[in-house]
Amino acid sequence: MASERRLRIKTLVMVLAMVVCANAGDLLLKRGMSQIGAVQLTASGLAQAFRLTVASGTIWVAILFLSGFMLSYMTVLSWADYSYVMPAGAFGYALLTLLAVVFLHESVSPRRWVGVVLICAGVLLVGQTKPRTTAVTSEALA
């Protein structure tokens, strides 16, 4: 049972890393792109946007976070169920709403609050289930 507990903890840590990296990456990408301004959909406009994006530190940090998301996503899927990780990752939507209220002082509609409550309840329910239900192929090697 100790290994069951360990599996649960490392899965939760990885899902948390996924959510934090995805949210941080998206927010930084949005900030970086708004510093660059609206992209003109012409050859010269796209070339200009490309030059500005590769020169932007914010965009590079965003790419770093999004790579971190991809790595933690791939890592957690190497041991946990897709049907566990996918809904658990939706916790990010709830987290983003809470961050928007606390740090950006955005007002949130009642409908959105209901959504946040449903997501949290759903993630808690999925979190109760076993993270892995398919055969273990690699743990014997590890």
Binding site: T75, Y82, S83, A94, R111, G115, V116, L125
Partner: protein, 123 residues
Amino acid sequence: MMRVIFALAVLILGSTAGEIAITHGMKATGEPARLRPLALLQFLGRAVRNGWFWAGVPLMALSFYSLLALLSWEPISLVIPASALSYVVGTLGARYVLGEQVSAARWAGVVLVCAGVALVAAG
């Protein structure tokens, strides 16, 4: 209307199929020996040599372009709630393609998450 439904289907089925292919590839890769930088790099090296991983990437890219097209036609407050259906489609795929056991509690959680994401994204 037809093109919106078509693009939504491509968005949902593309991302689900892509993620299922990647999950299959990652299960075949096996988990990293330990969660340290060197072990993770070796793990990444093994993962990118797996064909299923590269089957998943273009499917997810296709899904992403479909999302861009949808966002150019319809407001985001319609597109993202509709795409929340992918939680249900993904769970069906996990059950019938990957052979994962989806208990009643997990199904209930997925349905709540799907409804919740739709409400949050609708604003």
